[in-house]
Symmetry: D2
Subunit: 286 residues, 4 copies
């Protein structure tokens, strides 16, 4: 079982896990299917190559054709995020992971740029603007990538966490999937953190509660299939031809996919963090 | 023989053509291999799915690691282009074909934006600036794509050709290849025009001398392999799974590949058109 | 009276024109003031430095703080445009004028990229998609600028007009104003065409019905004050210091202003052209 | 003396300082003038509104017309930077300050993106690549701005400094000048740190050795004049009209100015940090 995927849902499908180690729950509405997988013990975790914790996967239609259902999908994503957010108050650090110079890897930086940062707005200022309920303090950063900064994403986030002491970190990253059908149509969230770059680059240090000292919610959308996995998923073989290792498979309209997915995620995150604002008020502030 | 490729070199390899219908010539230097293929008659043309005419293919190392050899590669590309340019004087229209919103398809628009346009510079003005030899008149446009403009690329170019009457049109387009090894490492030129969009989109009307009434030199660089072709080139099968038809295979660093390839092509085109300028003088003017 | 401005409203204010040569009408609603100026004869036209015709100026609050009123403002702009559009049917060419590489001059290209092009959609295709009323045929292009293309904007548009024969051309251009308060808060439309580049660059050939042979509706938003005009508007002097001639005055957030203004204009234009679509249906198609 | 400027040279000109508190030195070559100002005591520092320390100002011709002199100007900038860099070894953190979404303020982020980060390259790896002399360890980040991140630039840099312990920080920021002639033609460096945002935004906390605990070299290029200062510099008055406070004066080609200036600075910084590399080797690595 060495298909390269960041999606727990795909690993769970492959393993067709039953029994005590895994719990699955399904929710449906007119425009989405939500699967909540709890990996309950280390044995199952090891079998699936995923950490113990909760994984929520939301499957939606192709984003580019949505529009009128979009507010409802945003709400669905927000509700799933509510299930993972550990507390109602306290500073949250949102960290976009990935390379803004590579379109298919730019999901994290794009989302971070659309988060409503509020940590610097004093109570006084908020009152003078007319807010009745105070906003939740939020900071939003992009980590860049090792080759640009000389710092691992995990290390970069730790720098910020150690100084500003958030109660929780939310990371956003582009993921790899086994299936082209999932690209741009699946949103995965978990409370287990991430190993960034498993989609596009090499494995990096995990970004998780163990490393950072605070809970980490990881959100991702598959944007690539690696070329070898695609070939294998079509023809079922397993010999690894060297020439395709640096190739990625993306939709033709990957630029649009990244733009739409990042808007969707950023709005859902903002709404989950700022319970006193609705979608219209939010867009007026951004 | 239904591999999807825009490269004549690949078709010729497949067909292993010998005999009277095709002529091949090879040139080598330290940093490139050049293949000149002449398709001499309609019979061979039909067999290869390519028009009668001259195809020059230059194979170079991966662009991202070049730097010090770059001026020599630029010179090689320029010399091949010199072989195809029908005249030494007269207005030339350079037309970038492709979608600037899709990274892998943006080669044409990027090159066009780096061409030295001179059609509007009067002899008087050039003398007052200090030019001793007059520049060749050049116009450079990007055609956009049908979905954005409502005009076929061929139609768009015809609009401009009919008004400004160039002696020759040079088109630049991103190509599809069968092989991931060719992406960003092969430059193809021909005097036969192109069927734009065969790389990324559906087949469009040909842009050629028959349609435009003036010679058309087509230049392209492979930037994508379609996903199905990749799977077939690895595993040799031919059943067409539906799910991958809108997927493209690109290098991870496709953004950089497009940037570097477009600089290389634009410089070579500018040098071929403006024989009185060297690379330093050119970059001072752009 | 040599204040550099593209706004007829400003010229009319300066001249405080009364009498037979000019007609003014005002409309107000909660979020905008609309002024309709008709310049009725050549004498007045000459006095104001503007052509005979209708000029509609819509004054709105700063765009960045709108959000909830935005759909209403879009509707107001659309209604004014309806007053100028000569016919209900027939192909319309939308032409973005200006330099996409200079933020403050990129309004035209940005709007053009957001226009729904429909000229290429056959009746058959539209029916198969489910449209009951056929869309109005529209093409949208950006002219680039002389230095990039070697063609005047006017000449560029003429190339396209001569081939596709629209019943009307709509141009979009960034304008200069005398007043910093107008930047991003005033929309001017006229049925008289434009002299592009009066805002940022040198005067160019007019783009109007006389030149193109079809009616030309010009739409613009002031994005710059030239530095000298600003100094004069503060201190009332008129000696022209050389050093500021290539300087422009813009809001700090000019990037956001261009983005928001172009969305507003594009939506209003799309709605005026496609009477069978509402704002939601439009955004689903783009 | 309330002209808004970040240039010590301009303040020193205004004050025409003589005497013990200030020391000036001049250097000339064919393509640049360098002024080294040492502010020697607190009294003079207060008078000039600048901290005690060394300020180096390099005046160059307009960047857009350089090309062939560019390598020499890069070398001049590098040599000045050598004068300020406290040590030959040890990790250096390069921090781009400013807002990448506002063209005129994007100098810092642009430079940071072109710095050769090496902190993550192990000695082993460097040897295997073929480096004989080890590269100096460097990290490069962009701080974003308060409104995006919720963190002051100073605070952001402190987060990173506290974790990675550099021996020195180099900041890059866009500056304000009193004079339009200085825009893009003056480079200022100092060993005193900066108060970021004095050019485009409000005053922020200083980024200096006192705050960060390590030496801070600040590098900047003027990209804006504020609109009021321009009006005053032309007409010599001092009443502050409200309407222009959020306006900036920039060259028309500000996008190009930022691009060219950031390339120049990044190359000079890279060369000063990596003494074993020449310009060609550098560009091959980036």
């Amino acid at each position: 079982m060495n298909f390269r995927t960041d999606l727990t849902l795909e690993r769970a499908e492959l393993a067709s896990e039953k029994g005590k180690g895994i719990k699955k729950e399904f929710k449906h509405n007119d425009f989405s299917n939500t699967t909540i997988i709890d990996i309950l013990n280390e044995e199952t975790a090891e079998k699936l190559g995923k950490a113990v914790g909760r994984y929520i996967t939301i499957e939606i239609p192709e984003l580019t054709f949505l529009s009128s259902d979009l507010p409802k999908i945003v709400e669905t994503v927000k509700e799933s995020l509510d299930l993972l957010l550990p507390q109602k108050n306290g500073l949250v650090l949102v960290a976009g992971v990935g390379n803004s110079d590579i379109t298919a890897d730019a999901l994290g930086p794009f989302v971070a740029s659309k988060i409503l940062s509020t940590r610097h707005l004093s109570e006084e200022l908020q009152k003078s603007i007319g807010f009745k309920e105070m906003l939740r303090p939020v900071s939003a950063i992009s980590t860049g990538v090792l080759g640009q900064t000389g710092l691992e994403s995990s290390e970069y986030i730790k720098c910020i966490v150690n100084e500003i002491n958030p109660c929780c970190v939310i990371t956003i990253d582009a993921l790899a999937s086994r299936s082209v059908k999932r690209l741009g149509t699946t949103i995965q969230m978990s409370d287990t953190g991430i190993a960034p770059g498993s989609g596009i680059n090499n494995k990096r240090k995990r970004i998780d509660e163990e490393f950072l000292g605070v809970p980490v919610i990881a959100i991702g959308v598959p944007t690539v299939v690696d070329a070898l996995t695609l070939a294998e998923s079509i023809y079922g073989k397993s010999d690894e031809p060297e020439m395709v290792v640096d190739m990625i498979v993306t939709p033709k309209d990957i630029d649009m996919l990244i733009k739409n997915s990042s808007s969707l995620l950023a709005t859902a995150i903002n709404l989950s963090l700022q319970k006193s604002l609705n979608q219209d008020e939010l867009s007026a502030l951004l």
